[in-house]
Amino acid sequence: MCVLIHKLILFKQKKSAVGIVLVGTEESKNPYAENYPNISQTSTIKAPSFELISEIQNIQLEEDREETDLISSLLVASALLLDCENVMKTKKKNLTVKKTIYLFINGETGISDPEELDVIAIDINKYNIEFIFILLSKTAVEGNKNTKSEIRLKTEHNLDNFTTYLNDSIILKYKKAMKTILKFEDKTKLLRSTFKGDLEIGPVGIPIVIYTKASKENFPTMKKYSLLSKEFTLVKSERSYHLINDPTIEIDPNDRITGYKYGNDVLQFEDENELEKLKLKGLNRTFKVIGFTKKSNIIRHHLIGGCDLILPMNPESNKNALGAMTKAMHKMKVIGIIRVVKRRNLKCPSLCYLAPYKDPNSNSWIMLSGKLPFVENLPQYTFNDFRTKKSLQPNKTQLKAIDQFIDKFTLETTNEKNKNFNFDLEKGIFNPVTQLFYSEILKKLDPNLENIKIIQNNIKKIITPPIQKEEESINSENNNHDKLLKEKGIEIEIEKGNYDDDDDDDEIEDINVQIRKKIIEDIKVNFNLKKSQNLERKRNPESLFTISENIDLKIPKRKKKNENENDDKKEKEPFQKFTFNDLVKVKKDENNDSDNENLDNIQFGNDNSGSESEDLSDDEDNDNESLFDLIQ
C-alpha cells in the first residue's frame, strides 16, 4: 500500500487526491456514522504526501470484528469520492475525475447482506467508479497454504458475485496485485490527439484523428543542487559569452550577431531578414498523400523512430471510408507516401509512410504512420559484402548447429511451459534504467521498505537472457538451499508465501535444458571462436553486473579512505534535515569543500585497488538473487 501511494506521489502528484478509509475500527469516524458503524476515515481526501505515508505506518492493527461490513465501507468510500468530485468541479466545470477505490482485505471480514448486492451494485454503477479488490492472504503470512477459513471462502464468493454486477471492477490476489504494483509505470498518458483534420487523397478529404502509438521516452528530468553548501540549495545554470580568442572578455548577449561557419570562414548575418531567408516558411497543416508505392519499396531499417495511429474522426459517418481505403491498400500490398505538417509554421515538412493495419482487438482497419528519411539522412557510402572471403563462410555442420540453435531458442509471447522463454513487448518489459531509478528513490525514502528488493530483482530479471536464467535456476536447485533459507530467516518465508511456487517444471523442460546445452556445445566446437588478447582489455568486467548494490558498496568505501581524519568532526555535526525529517539524509562527505576536488581521483583509485573484493561481494549477491529467482 505504501508503494502504491509512493507511486501516486511520483507520477500524479499534482493531479490526484487520496484518502484512507479503515474498516473494522473501534471508533466510527465518518460523516455517515449513524448508518455505517465501525468505519473510520483517517484524513480528508487530499494530494498524496509523506504525511499520508506516516499516517499509514502509524495505523494500529486491531482484532477482527465480525460485525463490520465491507459493502458499507465501499459505500462510505464512494460517498467521500463523490463529495470530493463535487468540490473539484466547483473550481473547474468540465473536469472529468477518474475515481478508483482500492479495497485491501484479508477476507476475514464478512459481507452482511449478500442478497442485496445486485441492488447496491446498480446504485454504485451510476457513479462510474472503478473498483480494485486486493485479497491479502492472511494464511500466507502464517505459512499455511491450503487452509482457508470459511468466512474467507464466503467473502470471496460474495465478492465474485459483486464484481459481476459492477461495471468496472476487478479482483486481484495479493501476488498478482503486487506484480503490477511493483512496476513503475510512467505518468498516465493522456489520450490526446496530435492532429485533427483531413487525410487528403487528391481532392478527397477523409476526416481523421491521429494519436501517438509509440514514442521514445527520456530519463526523468531532475533539478540540480549544490554539493558544496551545507544547506540544501538549488543550483541554477547561467550562461555567459566570451571571446574564443580571449576568454577573459565577456560579451553582452545583446551585442551578439548570428553567423554560420563556412569552412574556415564565417558568414555574418547582421540583418535579421537575411537570416529569415534561410528558413522554409509558410507551411500549412496537411496530411497529404503523395502517392502509393509497393510495400517492398519501403526499407524497414530506414524508418525513423516513433509511430502514429490514424483513426477515422467519426467511425459511424462516411460509411467507413478510411476502413475501405485501408483494406484496399492491404489487398494491393501498397504503402502510401505522405507529406505531413502537423502544426502551422513548422520548420520543415516531414515525409511519412502510411501503412494499413488491422487492429487485433477490434478487428477494424486503421492506418499507421511514421517518419521516413530524406536523402540527406542516408549514409553516402557503400559497404562491401561480408561474404566475399570464401574461406570464412560457414560449412554445413556449422549451419546445422545454428539451425538447431534458432529452433531451441525461440521466444514466445505466451509460453506456459517455460516462463524464462517468454517475451512480449507489450507486457512487462519496462525500461530497466528508469525502473531502477524509481526504486532507488523509494530506497532513499525508506530503506526498510520490504518490496524494494523484489522490485530490483525484477529489474534484473528483465535484462537477464533466458538461457542464463535457466542456468541460474538449475544451479540454485543444486545448492543446499535449506541452509540459505535459514540464513535469510523470516523474510524469505514471507516472500515464499506471497508468491505461489510454480513446481510444475516438468521433465520435458529438463530434456529441453539438456538439448540446449548440447547445442551450445556444438556451436562452440564447430565455430572454434578464438578470443584475441585485445578482447579482455576492451571488455569492462564491472559492466556486467553494476546493479545498484554497487552504489552502496562504493559510498562507504569512499568515506573510509577520505574521512578517517575528519571522522571526529563529523560526528559532532548533526545530520542535515530538510522538509521531511529522517527520510532524506544528505551524505555528508559531499558537503565538505576539500573533498570535492579529489573526488574523481580517489574514486578511480578505489576501483582499481578494491576490484577483487568487489568481485567477491558481487558473487555473493548473485547467489542471493538466484535464490529469489527460484522462489518466484
Binding site: 504526501s49 487528403e200 487528391g202 478529404g205 502509438k213 509509440a214 531532475m222 549544490s226 554539493l227 540549495t233 543550483v235 555567459s240 580568442n245 545583446n254 553567423g259 563556412y262 574556415n264 570562414d265 558568414l267 535579421e272 497529404k288 502517392g291 508505392t293 509497393k294 531499417h301 523512430g305 459511424e316 462516411n318 460509411k319 467507413n320 471510408a321 476502413g323 501498397v334 515538412p349 515525409l351 477490434s362 486503421i366 536523402v375 540527406e376 557503400t382 559497404f383 559484402d385 572471403k389 560457414p394 545454428i402 534458432i406 525461440t410 517475451f423 513487448l425 537472457p465 556451436i523 571462436l529 578464438k530 584475441s532 585485445n534 576492451k538 569492462n540 530538510f578 527520510l583 532524506v584
Partner: protein, 630 residues
C-alpha cells in the same frame, strides 16, 4: 593489424578528421571535349568543388588540397617539374571555393594561360607521390589529430609512365611507402575518349598494394567513368561523394549468442542525423567568434548575507535531485551515473521470434547496421554469416539487449537479417547483413482504445479505392526526396558565400503529389465521394478556404495586434512590468515601426529597455519642444 589499430584509435578519439588530396591530371588529353562539350578536366574540377562546398555547408571539418599534375608551370616545395599545388591542405574557405569557381568558368583564361599543359607526356609518378606525402606530413606535424589520409586521382591516361620500367619500380616503391602509412589511393578514370581505360597497364600495380587484397577489394578503389554517357558528370559526382564519405564505425561490441558464445561486430549507423553548418555567435564590434559557457550558480535565499556574491560551482560540485511530494530526493553525481550506466555492454541475444510478430510500430530511434570484426575475434565472420543465412531462411528475427557505450541507455532491439538492396542503377541502397531495430519498452507503446466498426466495409468502396491507388501508384525510393529545409539553408549559405543576392525562390518544397496525374483520376475521386459522403475539395478550393480562414484569423489578429500596439504606445509605456508582458515579436515589430535599431540575437529584456528608453526620449523631446514653444 594496421586496420585494427586505426579502428581502436577512431573509437578512442571519435572525432577523426579526413584529409583528401585531389590529384587532377592536366595534360592536354584531359581537355578534349566529348560530344556534349564536356571535358574530363572540367568535370573533375567541378566535382571536387561541389564535394568540398557540400562538406562545408554540412558543417564538416574535412581538409582538402588540390594539386594538378602534368602542368607547364610548377609550384611545390621540392621544385619537381609539372606538379602544381593549387590549394594547400586545409579546411577550405570562401576564397578557395571562389578560386576554383573562377578557373572553372574560364578555363582558357585562368588555367591554360597561367598554368598550362606540360609538353612532356611522360610523368614521374614517384615525384607526385613524394609531393603528396610532404603535403600530408606538414599537416600531421601541425595538428595532432589523426587524419584519414586519401589521394583521389583523376585521369584519362592509363599509362602515364609510357612503359618505363625504372620509373615504374620507383613509383611502385614510393606508393608502397604511402600505403604502409595508411594512406589510401582512389582512382577515377575517364574512358571513352581514347579507347578503353586499361587498368592493368599501370594503376592496378599502384592501387593493389596490400597483400591479402582480393579481386573485389581492388575494385573498391577504382571507378571508371564513361565520358560518352550524357550523365557522366552526375555519375562522377556521386562516385566521388561515396568515396569521400568514410565509413565511420560507432564502435566494436560483442554479440553474445549465449553467455559463453560471442562474436565481435562493428556497429554502423544506417540513418544519419541532419547535417547542418554550425550556427555561431559573433561579437558585433570585433566580429570575433563568441563561445557560450555555462556556469552553475547557487540559488541562495540568503544572498544578502553574502553581500550579493554569487557562488559559482564546478560540474563536480553539482548533484541532482528529484522533486518528490514537495521535497527533494538527493542524488550525488556518482549515483546518477551508475544508475544510467546500469546493464551489460554489448548485444545479448535473448532468443528468436518469427518475423510476422515484428510490427511496424515496434520502432523507436535510428537503426544500426552490424558487420563482423574478424580482427577482434577470429571466427566472427563465419558465425555471423551462418546466423544471417539461417535467419533469412527461417524468417525469424532475434531479440537482443543492446548497449553501445557505457553511458548509453539499455534498449531491447530486433536483429533483422536483410538482403542487399540495389536501386535502378545498381547502386547500393542498403547492404546485406544484420540490422539493429530499436524496440519500444512496454511503457512506450500506448494502448489506444479503438471502437469496433459497426458497419461492414462496403466492397464497392474498396474497389473504387483500389483503382484510385492504381492511379496514384509511383516508384518510391529512399533517395527520392530531398529535405527542403536543409536544401534551402545550404543554398542560402552558398549564395551568401559567393556574394550572390539571396534568391531563395530557386529552392522549392517539392514534396507534393503529381497534380496532373490526379486530374485524370477525377471521376474516381468523385465516385468515392458519392459513395462515402466525405468532402471533395480541389487543391484550389483548399487554398482558397485556407486563405479565407487565415484572413479571418489575421483580421482578428491584426485587430488585436494594432490594439495591443496602441496600448503599448498609450497606456503601458512607462511601466516596465507591463511592457514585459508583450511578446518578443511584438516588441521587435514596435521597435521596427519607430525605427530603433536592434540586433538579431538580442534578448527580450534588452528590447524592453530599448522601448522604455525610446519613450523616455520621446517625453524629454516633447518637453523640450513645449519649453521652446513657450
Amino acid at each position: 593489424m594496421n586496420e585494427f589499430q586505426n579502428e581502436e584509435e577512431t573509437i578512442s578519439t571519435l572525432s577523426s578528421l579526413d584529409s583528401v588530396i585531389f590529384l587532377i591530371d592536366s595534360r592536354s588529353s584531359m581537355f578534349q571535349p566529348n560530344e556534349y562539350y564536356q571535358t574530363a578536366f572540367e568535370n573533375s574540377l567541378k566535382a571536387a568543388r561541389l564535394v568540398m562546398s557540400e562538406k562545408i555547408v554540412q558543417g564538416g571539418s574535412d581538409q582538402f588540397s588540390i594539386c594538378f599534375f602534368g602542368t607547364n608551370e610548377s609550384k611545390n616545395p621540392h621544385n619537381f617539374p609539372s606538379i602544381y599545388i593549387h590549394q594547400e591542405l586545409d579546411v577550405p574557405g570562401i576564397d578557395d571555393i571562389q578560386k576554383l569557381n573562377d578557373i572553372q568558368t574560364d578555363i582558357d583564361q585562368n588555367f591554360i594561360s597561367n598554368i598550362g599543359h606540360s609538353t612532356n607526356d611522360q610523368l614521374d609518378f614517384s615525384q607526385i607521390f613524394f609531393t603528396c606525402s610532404t603535403i600530408f606530413n606538414k599537416n600531421t606535424v601541425a595538428s595532432k589529430n589523426i587524419f584519414g589520409n586519401r589521394i583521389f586521382i583523376f585521369t584519362c591516361d592509363d599509362d602515364p609512365l609510357k612503359k618505363d620500367e625504372k620509373l615504374l619500380k620507383k613509383s611502385v616503391d614510393k606508393c608502397k611507402e604511402l600505403t604502409d602509412v595508411g594512406i589510401e589511393i582512389e582512382l577515377f578514370a575517364f574512358s571513352g575518349l581514347e579507347g578503353n581505360f586499361d587498368h592493368n597497364a599501370f594503376y592496378e600495380k599502384i592501387i593493389s598494394q596490400k597483400e591479402e587484397e582480393t579481386e573485389n577489394q581492388w575494385r573498391e578503389h577504382f571507378s571508371e567513368i564513361e565520358m560518352t554517357e550524357i550523365d557522366n558528370f552526375n555519375i562522377l559526382l556521386s562516385k566521388v561523394r561515396k568515396r569521400e564519405n568514410k565509413k565511420a564505425t560507432l564502435g566494436t561490441i560483442h554479440l553474445q549468442l549465449t553467455p559463453d558464445i560471442e562474436i565481435a561486430v562493428k556497429v554502423y549507423s544506417s540513418i544519419e542525423h541532419d547535417k547542418k553548418a554550425k550556427q555561431i555567435y559573433l561579437d558585433s564590434k570585433t566580429k570575433q567568434e563568441v563561445e557560450t559557457r555555462t556556469k552553475f550558480v547557487e540559488q541562495l535565499d540568503y544572498t544578502e548575507q553574502l553581500d550579493g556574491k554569487k557562488v559559482v560551482l564546478r560540474e563536480t560540485q553539482v548533484g541532482q535531485c528529484f522533486e518528490y511530494g514537495g521535497s527533494y530526493i538527493l542524488f550525488n553525481p556518482h549515483e546518477i551515473s551508475s544508475i544510467k550506466r546500469y546493464g551489460p555492454l554489448g548485444l545479448q541475444i535473448f532468443g528468436f521470434k518469427p518475423l510476422e510478430s515484428l510490427k511496424l510500430y515496434h520502432n523507436v530511434g535510428f537503426s544500426n547496421y552490424l558487420l563482423p570484426n574478424e580482427n577482434f575475434l577470429k571466427g566472427s565472420t563465419t558465425l555471423y554469416s551462418a546466423l544471417y543465412q539461417k535467419m533469412i531462411e527461417k524468417k525469424v528475427y532475434a531479440i537482443a539487449l543492446f548497449k553501445l557505450r557505457k553511458n548509453f541507455g539499455l534498449r531491447f532491439v530486433a536483429l533483422v537479417a536483410k538482403e542487399e538492396i540495389l536501386d535502378e542503377e545498381s547502386e547500393q541502397v542498403s547492404p546485406a547483413g544484420i540490422f539493429v531495430i530499436k524496440l519500444p519498452f512496454t511503457n512506450e507503446i500506448r494502448n489506444i482504445p479503438i471502437k469496433k466498426n459497426v458497419e461492414k466495409i462496403d466492397e464497392q468502396i474498396v474497389e473504387v479505392s483500389k483503382s484510385i491507388i492504381k492511379n496514384m501508384n509511383f516508384h518510391f525510393e529512399s533517395t527520392s526526396f530531398e529535405n527542403p529545409e536543409l536544401q534551402k539553408l545550404y543554398h542560402g549559405l552558398h549564395q551568401k558565400a559567393m556574394k550572390i543576392n539571396l534568391n531563395q525562390d530557386l529552392i522549392q518544397d517539392v514534396i507534393f503529389p503529381d497534380w496532373e496525374g490526379l486530374e485524370k483520376a477525377d471521376d474516381l475521386f468523385k465516385e468515392f465521394v458519392d459513395l462515402t459522403g466525405v468532402s471533395y475539395q480541389t487543391e484550389e478550393n483548399r487554398k482558397r478556404n485556407r486563405e479565407q480562414q487565415m484572413q479571418k484569423k489575421n483580421t482578428n489578429k491584426r485587430f488585436y495586434k494594432t490594439e495591443r500596439l496602441e496600448n503599448l504606445k498609450s497606456q503601458d509605456r512607462k511601466n516596465k512590468d507591463l511592457i514585459k508582458l508583450y511578446t518578443l515579436k511584438e516588441l521587435k515589430e514596435f521597435l521596427k515601426s519607430v525605427e530603433v535599431k536592434f540586433k538579431s540575437a538580442e534578448r527580450k529584456m534588452s528590447l524592453v529597455e530599448k522601448v522604455l528608453e525610446y519613450f523616455s526620449n520621446l517625453e524629454t523631446n516633447n518637453l523640450n519642444e513645449q519649453q521652446n514653444n513657450n
